[in-house]
């Protein structure tokens, strides 16, 4: 039975988005690959096609990848119109050839969203996510200044929920899946992770305001509760975190409107 499953081979045609550079026009180009072992991963299929292209004197398809096990968030393909392909809860690199029929024609595109401009072919620039983090996605603690790790108990349920949010791999599929190119699931994951643990409380308001406002300024759209984001998320991060984010944001806006003047002087001890 093992041998039977793996001896199966298929042939497919990839209809791939080719674009030489950021401001260049792009177009789809077809590549056919034959006799593929169905245990091959989708990225390995691109490797095989690229080697063929190279031997034939062409320029291989640029695509982003690194860990190839669903954790680094680098891979970012839209396969047949779906960010990360046909299956729920996996990244592009965890998609396998066995998910496709023999003879299938499969379209492969980059993530499409205004804040993620195409660099080349299937590679996009997602530096905007780093900028959102830099605006407040942290707890300010200098190295060496930390108290003993067990000095604060964190209820197990809170730690678990924080971990659910923290599982985000920062790939940007949520943005690519959203018709508004909203980054709310990404921001909500970070805000919730840090907002659920006691260490994150002192900067909670500041953090949520800074991250949401930065996302807006970077051109990400607003959330209109379609939840395509969590459906496309390779870590299945729940859109419940967006509701939590909204509560935090409204509360923070309200509270900072009434902040005592002294808190804004920045002097402090």
């Amino acid at each position: 039975m093992v041998a039977e499953a793996s001896n199966k081979t298929i042939s497919v045609t990839l209809r791939v988005w080719r674009q030489a550079g950021p401001n260049q026009p792009g177009r789809f180009v077809d590549y056919t690959a034959k006799d593929l072992n169905t245990n091959m991963s989708f990225l390995e299929l691109l490797d095989v096609i690229n080697d063929d292209i190279t031997r034939g004197g062409g320029e291989p398809i640029a695509f982003a990848h690194d860990c190839r096990e669903g954790i680094c968030g680098t891979c970012s393909l839209v396969i047949d119109g779906k960010p990360h392909g046909p299956h729920r809860g996996v990244a592009s690199c965890q998609t396998y050839v066995r998910s496709f029929e023999d003879g299938a024609v499969i379209t492969v595109e980059p993530f499409r969203a205004r804040p993620f401009p195409v660099v080349k072919d299937l590679v996009t620039d997602r530096a905007a996510f780093d900028k959102i983090q830099q605006s407040g996605g942290y707890i300010s603690v200098r190295t060496g200044a930390a108290p003993d790790a067990n000095a604060i108990a964190v209820p197990k349920e809170d730690a678990e929920l924080a971990m659910d949010a923290a599982a985000c791999i920062g790939c940007g599929a949520c943005v690519a899946a959203c018709k508004n190119a909203s980054a709310m699931l990404f921001v909500a994951a970070k805000v919730s992770h840090l907002g659920l643990v006691p260490q994150g409380q002192p900067e909670r308001d500041k953090r949520v305001l800074a991250m949401v406002n930065t996302a807006d300024a970077l051109g990400f759209g607003s959330c209109t509760n379609q939840y395509e984001c969590s459906a496309a998320c390779p870590k299945l991060i729940s859109h419940d975190f967006i509701a939590r984010l909204n509560r935090d944001y409204i509360g923070a806006t309200f509270r900072t409107a009434f902040t005592p003047a002294s808190a804004n002087t920045g002097g402090g001890a």
Binding site: M1, A5, N39, H65, C72, T143, A159, Q199
Partner: protein, 640 residues
């Protein structure tokens, strides 16, 4: 010959680090901003170092080849991080963690470094918790621990199966905070392609921007490399595809010594190769060996049959047979080599014959499927996703794979290489794991180096450099280095070959795996040392690198990395050939005890080999740093 001074402080083991910290030179706070430090790499080691140095007031430039610092390979670590907190009250201590690590490393690491690592391990956990790292907790809200190989206490902290991810995101958040404040300048998609040495000191780097292709020169007062391990020299490994040796290899070619390059770790439980298109091997947690039984058919003829059709008496539970006391829980290296042995006999299973069964049917009969699901459900799911097989119904197929490199650039106690001003952290250095690394100790070392060691020790070097004395990036040394990189790029692009880079990487991987992998012999290594120079020449003659230098060109990136790997392969084989003993991950078939355990030769090889470059194709010099064990007695590793 390079001068290797380990700079190990004198005095009792437990006082060395404290004493050293009070004795080394400091940079006055007002002067710190006058010094620029380049940090290459932002994995656990690089991100923690860059953030901490910026907090101290230094001007820091951080470079990564990734499109974001959060994508460093540290993200993929699963199991956990060790620390001598003794929260379980099970008798753990700094000394015990030190001792386990020394013993685990088969007495080939420096005592003083390892003791310091154990000391600062406790601060790491404090730091990470303060950053909000969501470690697993007990019902009372305090931190939970699990146990890991090579230890009798429970000292491993973890965040589900994503410990590396969570620790890296913590360090990344600290780094992001400093970037947001303008204290760190971050350069992503920027690959270091050369080290610039001025008057014998590391004073800058050359980078290639991977998006625009632009080459740039950067001057600094000191350079830190935290660029990870080089296991991809084997082509197939558990590493991310982009992990490479380029940064430290080019530094080696500029005079930094390479310590113990042949020490590599091979993990016994990975998903086997299915075909020659394969790009990646996925690790399955070692914990599976607690309940799974490992076997292959007794007869070659049975290897292609459905495992369910093979009768109990026709199965060879070889670990249980060969190592009755340890059975399926034999140490990593022994389990790996045993799997290789049965496959070499032609009894391997699966499509390629390079695999063994890890069978849970006994455990399912004994405990019931729900209990097995609860313990290992997520691993069974990963296995299913990759192989499309249901491991509750049919045994898993596993095979060993390259997982970690203990070797790396030689550094002294201050983590400075023999090139003054060049510091090396994390997996890129050779320092703390000797000939074998224990599970959950790499994350610990990366963060120790970056948060708690280099921020002190770099001051000792910088205090001796006049503020404002760093050279201009227009100095001739910078121009020469840039020209060197440009020439290599041109040479790659103009090679008139027909074969893609992957062709050479695969062949390199095969040579390395066959002759410098789990079991090494004199003949095999000599053979590899004949084949590798030929492969190198063939590469330059017949590689095909399409595209141009001035855009995103992944083929060009790979070509440069594979060119370095081929050269590194030669050095690893030479190191393995010269080290006529077995220790930890370095197993020479000629040197073993009857039970298959490593036979060390402390008299002849109780030292670090630090290789010094003499030119491509020229034999490098072998420098030696003796390992003086003052506090622990070197003895035969025994886990029975």
């Amino acid at each position: 010959m390079a001068k290797l001074d380990s700079k190990i402080p004198s005095g009792p083991l437990a006082d060395k680090w404290r004493k050293h910290k009070t004795e080394i030179k400091l940079v006055n706070p007002a002067n710190k901003r006058k010094y620029e430090i380049i940090v290459v790499g932002a994995g656990l080691a690089g991100a923690s170092a860059a953030a901490t140095l910026a907090e101290l007031g230094y001007k820091v430039k951080s470079f990564v080849f990734h499109d974001s610092p959060r994508r460093a390979h540290s993200i993929a670590a699963q199991g956990g991080i060790n620390a001598a907190k003794n929260y379980q009250n099970d008798g753990d201590s700094v000394y015990r963690l030190f001792y386990d690590t020394i013993k685990g490393g088969d007495y080939r690491a420096r005592e003083a470094n390892v003791h310091r690592l154990a000391e600062v391990s406790v601060n790491i956990i404090d730091q990470c918790v303060a950053q909000g790292v969501p470690f697993a907790r007990e019902y009372g809200g305090l931190l939970a621990n699990r146990s890991f190989g090579g230890a009798q206490v429970s000292r491993t902290f973890y965040a589900r199966g994503q410990t590396g991810q969570q620790l890296l995101l913590g360090a990344y958040s600290a780094l992001s905070r400093m970037v947001g404040q303008g204290a760190v300048e971050l350069f992503t998609n920027e690959e270091m392609t050369d080290l610039v040495v001025v008057n014998g000191q590391a004073k800058g780097i050359i980078t290639r921007n991977l998006v625009t292709g632009e080459l740039r020169r950067w001057a600094a007062d000191a350079v830190i490399l935290a660029t990870g391990g080089y296991g991809n020299v084997f082509n197939l490994s558990t590493y991310a595809r982009g992990s490479n040796v380029t940064a430290i290899w080019r530094a080696y070619k500029r005079g930094a010594c390479f310590g113990n390059p042949c020490y590599t770790q091979i993990h016994p439980t990975c998903i086997p190769v299915t075909g020659d298109y394969q790009s990646k091997l996925t690790l399955m947690s070692e914990s599976l060996r607690n309940d799974g039984r490992i076997w292959v058919p007794k007869r070659k003829e049975d290897c292609r049959k459905d495992p369910a059709s093979i009768a109990e008496e026709d199965r060879d539970y070889y670990l249980e047979r060969m190592y009755p006391s340890f059975g399926n829980l034999a140490p990593r290296d022994i389990a790996s080599r045993a799997a290789k042995r049965v496959c070499d006999e032609g009894r391997g299973i699966g499509e390629t014959g390079l695999g063994v069964y890890l069978d849970f049917s006994d455990a399912i009969n004994r405990l019931g499927e729900p209990a097995v699901r609860e313990r290992y459900g997520n691993l069974f799911d990963i296995y299913h996703e990759i192989t499309n097989e249901n491991a509750y119904k049919t045994p898993m197929r596993i095979y060993p794979a390259v997982h970690y490199t203990m070797g790396g650039l030689w550094v002294d106690y201050n983590l400075m290489s023999n090139v003054p001003g060049l510091f090396v952290l994390g997996e890129a250095n050779f320092s703390d794991h000797g000939a074998n690394r224990l599970g959950a100790s790499a994350l610990m070392q990366g963060l120790a180096d970056g948060y708690f060691v280099v921020p002190y020790t770099i001051g000792d070097y910088l205090a001796g450099q006049k503020p404002g004395s760093r050279p201009s990036p227009d100095a001739p040394e910078f121009k020469e280095a840039e020209a060197n990189v440009r020439a290599m790029t041109q040479r790659l692009l103009s090679a008139k070959g027909t074969q893609p880079v992957s062709h050479f990487h695969k062949r390199l991987g095969q040579i390395m795996w066959n002759y410098c992998g789990m079991a090494r012999t004199k003949e095999g290594l000599q053979k590899a040392l004949q084949e590798l120079p030929k492969l190198r020449e063939e590469f330059w003659a017949s590689v095909k690198v399409p595209g141009s230098a001035d855009t995103l060109n992944q083929a060009l990136e790979n070509a440069g990395r594979v060119a370095d790997f081929i050269e590194l392969g030669e050095l690893m084989c030479l190191d393995a050939l010269t080290r006529e003993e077995s220790c930890g991950g370095h197993f020479r078939e000629e040197y073993q005890y009857p039970d298959g355990e490593c036979k060390r030769d402390d008299e002849k090889f109780g030292h670090v080999a630090a290789w010094e470059f003499q030119g491509v194709g020229q034999p490098p010099l072998r420098n030696v740093e003796p390992l003086n064990y003052e506090f622990v007695k070197m003895s035969v590793r025994n886990y029975k």
